[in-house]
Symmetry: C2
Subunit: 448 residues, 2 copies
C-alpha cells in the first residue's frame, strides 16, 4: 500500500499566518504541530515511511523536507517537487508514475491520496474508514471518502449518494460548492455528503481512467518520471475531481460519520474546531482579554490586550495585525487581492524564511543596513553568494561553526565575531550538534 500526500497547495485564506510562500500545511494551529506533521503522524498508522510519497513545489520543498526529517530519511527521499503548479490531477498522476518507476510499486497496489492540511479526529475512526476504503478500492473503484454534513456548509463540494452496496455507495453525482439554500436542501435530503478530498484506488485503476479521460496528462506521464517532470508545465492545470472523478463510471463513496473532519479553510473554521474558554474565546499566545467574548485572538509575539469586544478574530504576526469580525472569510480574500495589487510583501513572505541549511529572520531593516538572525542546522552548510554590494558582520550567539572566507578557515564559537568584507566568497558549516545561531549585520557598500 502507498500513500500520496498533496502538499503543494497554495493559499492565503489564513493570512497573515499563511503567506503565498508559506501555506496552511505549515501552520501550527493545533497541538503546536504543523498540519503537515499531524498528517504524517496520521498516515503512519496506515503505511510505512518508505511507502509515503509527498508531492510539493520548490517554494515549499525545504519546509516539507524539514518536517519529513523528523520521521525518517525515506520520507525525505520520497518528495516530488513540481516545477510548476498544475492542480491535483497532474500531482496524483506523477505520484503514480513515481511509485511504479522509483518505488517499484505493483500497479495493482492500492494507494491513498491525502490533502496535507486537514484536521481529522479520532485516529481510530480514521483508520477504520480507510481500511473500508481500501477493500472497496481492491474491487477496482476510484474511492472517495464522503463526510456526513452537520451544517449547510457552502465552502465544500457535495457528493450525491447512489446505489448502496453495504459499506459504500455508487456515486450519483458531484455538486460544486452550493448556495446556502441548496446546501440546506442537501442536509434535509440526507443523501448528500461533503467531498473530503481523500481518495483510495489501485494505481492501475487510476491510470486506466486517466488514459481514458485525460490522455494529455497520461501521455506525458507514460514517457517516464524524469521526462514527466521536465514536461510538467505542458500538462493542463486541472483538479482530479473535475477531470476524472466527475466523469468516471467507476467511482464509489465511503460515507463517513462520527469523525471530526475540517479543512480549516478560514479563521472562522479554526475558531469552530478549537476548544473555547467560559467566555467563548479561543486565546493563543500572550493575550489579555477584558470583557471579551466569542473571539479568536492569536498572538505570536506581542501582548494583545482587548476590552469590550465580541465576535472578533485578531491575528498578530511580526509584520501584520489582522482584525476582522467573525464570518468574514470572503472579505479576507478580497483584502489579500488588494494588497497583492499593491505588491505588499506581507502577502508573499514572513519575516522568517526557511532554507535548505536552516532559516533566517530579519529583525531590523534599517536605512543602509539589515540585521538578521541566522539559524543553521547541525551539519549544514550556508554558502553565501558573492556579495559585491555589501559587507557583513557576524556575531555567534550559540553553537559551533567553521567559516571559510576565500582560502582562510576560522573556527567560530559563542561570543565570536568576524567581519566579512564585500567581494569575498564565504561559507559556514555548523560543526556542533545544536543549531548554530548567528546575528548578521549587512551593510551596503555605500557605507564603506
Amino acid at each position: 500500500m502507498k500513500v500520496f500526500i498533496l502538499a503543494g497547495g497554495k493559499g492565503t485564506r489564513l493570512w497573515p499566518l499563511s503567506r503565498e510562500k508559506y501555506s496552511k500545511q505549515f501552520l501550527r494551529l493545533i497541538d503546536g504541530k504543523e498540519l503537515l506533521e499531524s498528517t504524517y503522524e496520521r498516515v503512519l498508522n496506515l503505511a510505512e515511511p518508505k511507502d509515503i510519497v509527498t508531492v510539493t513545489n520548490s517554494d515549499y520543498y525545504f519546509y516539507v523536507k524539514d518536517i519529513c526529517s523528523r520521521f525518517s530519511k525515506e520520507m525525505e527521499d520520497n518528495i516530488i517537487c513540481e516545477p510548476v503548479g498544475r492542480n491535483t490531477a497532474p500531482s496524483i498522476a506523477i505520484a503514480c508514475q513515481y511509485a511504479i518507476e522509483v518505488l517499484k510499486s505493483d500497479p495493482e497496489e492500492v494507494t491513498f491520496v491525502f490533502p496535507s492540511d486537514h484536521l481529522i479526529r479520532p485516529i481510530e475512526s480514521f483508520v477504520r474508514y480507510m481500511n473500508i476504503g481500501k477493500d472497496v478500492a481492491e474491487k477496482g473503484y476510484l474511492v472517495i471518502f464522503g463526510i456526513r454534513p452537520n451544517r449547510p456548509e457552502t465552502g465544500y463540494g457535495y457528493i450525491q449518494l447512489g446505489e448502496n452496496k453495504g459499506d459504500y455507495n455508487i456515486v450519483d453525482r458531484f455538486v460544486e460548492k452550493p448556495s446556502l439554500d441548496k446546501a440546506k436542501l442537501y442536509i434535509k435530503d440526507g443523501n448528500y455528503l461533503w467531498n473530503s478530498g481523500i481518495f483510495a484506488f489501485k494505481i492501475s485503476t487510476f491510470l486506466e481512467e486517466l488514459m481514458c479521460y485525460q490522455p494529455e496528462i497520461y501521455n506525458i506521464i507514460a514517457k517516464g518520471y524524469e521526462s514527466a517532470i521536465r514536461n510538467f508545465e505542458k500538462m493542463p492545470s486541472i483538479s482530479v475531481d473535475y477531470s476524472i472523478m466527475e466523469k468516471s463510471k467507476r467511482v464509489a463513496v465511503v460515507p463517513v460519520s462520527n469523525m471530526l473532519w475540517s479543512d480549516i479553510g478560514s479563521w472562522d473554521a479554526l475558531y469552530e474546531i478549537r476548544e473555547k474558554d467560559e467566555d467563548g474565546n479561543v486565546l493563543i499566545g500572550d493575550v489579555y482579554p477584558l470583557e471579551t467574548k466569542n473571539s479568536l485572538i492569536f498572538s505570536n509575539n506581542r501582548l494583545i490586550a482587548t476590552i469590550g469586544v465580541e465576535n472578533l478574530i485578531v491575528i498578530e504576526t511580526d509584520d501584520v495585525v489582522l482584525i476582522t469580525k467573525r464570518g468574514n472569510g470572503q472579505s479576507v480574500k478580497e483584502l489579500i487581492e488588494r494588497l497583492k495589487a499593491e505588491k505588499r510583501e506581507e502577502v508573499i513572505n514572513h519575516t522568517e524564511v526557511f532554507k535548505v541549511w536552516g532559516r533566517y529572520k530579519t529583525i531590523e531593516d534599517g536605512n543602509g543596513y539589515k540585521v538578521r538572525k541566522l539559524f543553521i542546522k547541525p551539519g549544514n552548510l550556508l554558502e553565501s553568494e558573492f556579495h559585491r554590494e555589501r559587507m557583513e558582520h557576524w556575531i555567534v550567539t550559540r553553537g559551533l561553526g567553521e567559516l571559510e572566507v576565500e582560502d582562510k578557515k576560522y573556527r567560530l564559537k559563542e561570543g565570536d565575531s568576524i567581519v566579512i568584507p564585500n567581494c569575498s566568497v564565504h561559507r559556514v558549516r555548523n560543526v556542533g550538534n545544536i543549531p548554530l545561531e548567528i546575528i548578521e549585520i549587512q551593510m551596503e557598500n555605500s557605507y564603506n
Copy 2:
C-alpha cells in the same frame, strides 16, 4: 511676564502609547508633534524663551530637554526637576521661587500656568483670552480660564460663575467631576464652565494665598530654591485647585468660548478631536481598512488590516496591541492596574528609552544576548558603566565616533565594528554632526 509649564504629570490613560515613564505630553498625537512641543509653540506667542519655566521630574528630564533644545538654550536651562511628584501646588510654588530667585522676576509680574498636554485651537483665540486673563491678574486675582461646555462631560471639574465683572466673573464655587445627571443640569443651567487647569496671577498674589492656605508649602519654599528642592518630598502632595483655588477669596474666572480645548484624556477624546474620513475613521500609520467604520486605528510599525469592524480603537506599538470598543476609557484604567499587579514591563517602559546622550531601542531580546540600536546625539558622550557580566559587540551604521576602552582610543566610522570585552570601562563620543548610530550586541558572560 512669565510662563510655567507643568510637564511632570504621569498618566497611562493613553496606554500603550503612554507608559509610566513616557507620558502623554511626549506623544505625537496631532500634526506629528509632541503635545509638549505644541504647548511651547503656543506659549511662545505670549512670552520669550527666557521667561518660560518647565517643571518636570527626573524620569522625563531628558525628553523635556530634548524638546526644549529645538527652541532655545534658555528654555533648556529653565527646567525644574522635581525629586518626587507632589501634585500641582508644590510645582507652581517652586516655579514661583525659581522665577524670583533665579530669573530675578519682579513679584508683581504676572505668570501663566499651563498643563503640557492639552490641545487648544485656534492660536488667535488663545492669545486673546490670555491677554484678558493677564489684565484680570494685574488686578490681584487668581485667574482661572473656564471653558464653555458643549456636552455633559463627566471627566472634567466645573466652575460655577458668580458676579459678572465684564470680561470675567467672580468664582462662586468649584465642583469636582460630576455625575452624568449633574453634568446635564450644569449644561442646562448655563452658569457652569469646565476647569481648564490654565491659570494666571501675579507671583505675589499666589505666594500670599499660598502663605495663607498652605503654610507648610510656603515655609519650605521661603527658605530658597535649592533648599526647597532638597526638602521637596516634605511638601504635602496636593493640587492647586483643592489647596488654594477652592479656598481663596480672590479667584476670578475668564469664560472661554469659540476655542477648541481638550485635555485628550482618553483614546475616545483623541477620536473626537481628530478629523474623520468619509467612513468616520481616524487612521494613523500603515492601516488597511475594509468595511470599517467610526474607528480610531493607530499603527506605529506594522500593517494593521481591519475587516467589518465598527467603533473600535486599535493602538499598535512595538510590544503591545490594544483593541477596545470606543467608550471604554474606564476599563483601560482597570486593565493597566491588572497588568501592573502582574509587573508587566509593558506598563512602565517602551522598547525605546531616552537618555541624556540620546536614546536606545531594544530590537531583539534573545536567550543570553540582546541586540540594541543606539542613537548618540552630536557632541554627546555615552559613558558605559563597568560591565562585569557581559561583553559587547558594536557595529557603526551611521556617523562618526571616538571610543575609549580602558586607556586606548579608537576612531569609529560607518561600517566599523569593535568588540568590548567584559570588565572594561568604555565611553564613546559622537564627534560628527549627525546622530551616531550603533548596533550593539550584548552577550552574557556565560557565553565567554
